[in-house]
Each structure stands twice: as C-alpha cells, then as structure tokens.
C-alpha cells in the first residue's frame, strides 16, 4: 500500500470521526434542550398542582414551653437503671392551652409518649382509646400522654389534629420544640410508656406497641 493511499485513508477516517463527533454534539445539545423543557414543564405542573390545594396549617401551637424539675431519668437500656428512681416533675399545657402537669402527688400513673410521625404510635393510639372507652382503665391511676418529637416536616402533622381525629381522650401535655419532657424521661423509642408508683418512682418503662393485656398487667402491679 502506498503512503499516499494511507494518508488519504487516514484523512478520510479523521473526517468521519470529526463528523461523528459533531453529530454527537448536536444530539447532546438536543438532549439538553429537551431535558430542560421537560424539567421546566414538570416543575410548572408541580407548582400549579400544589398552589391550588389548601395547606394544612393550623393556628394551634404544636409545641409549648414546659418546665421540668428534678433529675432526668437515664435513657432506657436493656437493664432499666431508672427503676425505683424519682420521676422529674413537669408543668406544661395541653393543645387547648390548659395547664397540665405530672407531679409526685401520691397517685400512681401511666405516661405515654407519642410522636405524630411514628407509625407504631398511630397504631397504638386507637387501641388504647378503644380500651378506655370500654372502661378498661382501672380506677385510682392517672393516665397522661405527652405529644413530643413534633416536626412539621414529617407526616401526619399537626399532632393536635391527629389526636382529635382519633378521639384521644387522654390529657395530653404538649412537649417543647426540643422534646425536653421526652429527654427527661429517657425515651428510647415511640410509643414510650412510663409506669409510676404512688411514691413517684419509676415502676417500669417500655417502648413499642404494647398490647392491652400487657398494659393491664403492669397497671395491676402499681
């Protein structure tokens, strides 16, 4: 093969390569224009769809200031180091802004910590409510719940509407934005149950969806 032919071939293939590259550049240009149009269109649709719907904003404050006195309980671990320890006292308020408190007042109690976004709390609330409506709660024991870990970015917000919807009849203290009450009681998971004896000491703590029989058997020990 003569060098002239080789040179001609190589310049041909170079031209072909350049053409291929130009074609690819044109295609990717089309791709970017098409892609941008699609993105802008979808974004427009998204804004149109959401701007017409009304927001589930609420006037009710979903976190409220609380005051806590006494030492915080250690976080619940395998072996509960809080058993027999005095509970911290809490002064706070309900969603309706009525003052509510947890005091060492000689009455045994059960405290339930609830997070609106937690699916296990969403399951537990109607179970407990049905049990209360059947008169399952023994007399002489105080039942109180704490709406905590509230986050407007998460699902099932606001908690006040969720608990309303469930017909939740348990007096509910609204925790502050830093979940101070939950921290003071050593929450390790939701829902979180704290059972307190008449002396104001922790009898038992447990997290998770407790079956009613389990709640009843612990209440019977108080």
């Amino acid at each position: 093969m003569s060098t002239a032919v080789q040179r001609k071939r190589s310049s041909n293939s170079k031209r072909a390569r350049t053409r291929a590259r130009q074609e690819r550049a044109k295609k990717s240009q089309r791709f970017f224009i098409g892609g941008t149009v699609l993105l802008v269109a979808l974004f427009g649709v998204a804004i149109a769809v959401t701007s017409s719907g009304n927001d589930s904003e609420t006037d009710i404050a979903q976190t409220r200031s609380v005051s806590i006195t006494g030492d915080a309980l250690p976080s619940l671990t395998e072996e509960d180091r809080a058993i027999g320890v005095q509970i911290p006292e809490v002064e706070g308020s309900s969603f309706e802004a009525e003052p509510l408190s947890i005091e060492r007042n000689g009455i045994p109690k059960a405290i339930i910590f609830l997070a609106h976004w937690c699916p296990h709390c969403q399951n537990e609330v109607p179970v407990v409510q049905a049990w209360l409506e059947d008169g399952g709660m023994p007399a002489g024991i105080e039942l109180v719940s704490v709406a905590t870990s509230t986050d407007r970015a998460q699902v099932n917000y606001p908690p006040s509407e969720w608990l309303d919807r469930e017909g939740w009849s348990v007096p509910t203290i609204v925790d502050d934005a830093r979940s101070s009450v939950a921290t003071a009681y050593g929450v390790d998971g939701y829902p979180f149950f704290v059972f307190v004896d008449a002396e104001g000491n922790v009898h038992h703590r447990e997290s998770g969806e407790l079956p009613i029989e389990r709640i009843e058997s612990i209440l019977a020990e108080l």
Binding site: A46, I47, A182, S207
Partner: protein
C-alpha cells in the same frame, strides 16, 4: 420553595423514570415474541447507544441533587438505609458523566452491580415504610427511623421509591446500551 411543590416535582420525575423502565421492559418482552417487537427493541437500543449514558447521568445527577435538597434544605434526616442508597447513587452522578463524555459503554460493568445493590436497598426501605413491623418489634427510633415516611405522593411515591425508580432507570438504560460484542461488530 415550598416543600409540597418540590415533592410533586420529584414524584413526577419518578413517574417519568418509571415510564422509561416499564416501556423498555415491555419492549423487551414484545421482542421475544414478534419480529416487530424485535425491530422496536433495536430502535430503542440504537437510541440508548446515542443518549443512554447522557440520560443515565442526568437521572443520577437529579437524584443526587434531589436527595441533597431533602437533607440540606427541607431538613429531612437521612436514616441509615438512606445513606446506603446515597452511597450507591452519588458516585454515578460523576462516573456516568465521564462515561457519557467519552461515550464509554463499558462503564455498565462497573455501574450495574452498584445500582442493583442500591435498588435492592430501596425495595427493602420501601417495604419498611409500608410495613414498619419488619424493622422492630413495634417501636420507632426517636432519632432517624427508616420507617418514617417523609414524602407520600400519588399514593405510591415515597423517597426510597424515587431512589428505586432512579436506580432501575439507570440500570435499564445501561442494559439497552451496546454490549462489547455489538461494539466489536460495529468496529
């Protein structure tokens, strides 16, 4: 920007990715049974040869930016499984970009295993959201539980579902792109 609008936006993009995946799979099934299906698959593959890497890279980039939007701007806390999916997705925003620039279809050997693992984690995460009891004996981690559903659009799109759609679309596009044998035939 309001989070609801962004949620719908990302959910719409997810649906687009799902359409790519379902259409490709349907065409592949069609190609097994009819010559016209075979021709359609060929056209699809030809198209993927030109734009598959670029589209795959765009999907990875949008998924990466979307995930950063959710954690850094919307302040959603990524759970452990979110992080694993991020590990599988983020590098593709760079790797597929370089591959698209170089038109390097061999990249699928490296990317396919990673996005497959990512997709498997997304499926597990999505199941956890649907059935929280899979994770634990009935309690929610107070810090960053994987069972928390941050986004729920069109009754089926959540964040792990978005990730799954992205992984699946990237995988399908890479699988449509020419194999080594095809390239040898072309060359």
């Amino acid at each position: 920007m309001a989070a609801p609008a962004m949620n719908v936006f990302f959910a719409l993009l997810t649906v687009v990715a799902d359409v790519i995946v379902l259409a490709s799979v349907a065409t592949w099934i069609w190609s097994r049974s009819s010559p016209r299906g075979k021709a359609a698959l060929e056209r699809l593959r030809l198209w993927a040869t030109d734009g598959g890497l670029l589209l795959g890279w765009s999907i990875a980039l949008v998924a990466t930016l979307g995930s950063l939007y959710y954690s850094e701007i919307a302040n959603f806390t990524p759970c452990k499984l979110c992080w694993y999916q991020r590990i599988a997705m983020y590098p593709q925003a760079i790797v597929l970009g370089i591959a698209a620039l170089r038109n390097d279809h061999h990249i699928r050997r490296y990317v396919l295993p990673i996005v497959s693992i990512g997709a498997a984690i997304s499926i597990y995460h999505y199941l956890l959201e649907r059935f929280p009891s899979l994770e634990s004996a009935g309690s929610c981690d107070p810090t960053a539980p994987c069972t928390t559903v941050w986004v729920w659009e069109f009754h089926f799109v959540s964040i792990p579902f978005m990730a799954l759609s992205g992984f699946a679309a990237i995988a399908v596009l890479l699988m449509l792109s020419p194999t080594q044998n095809d390239q040898r035939r072309e060359g």
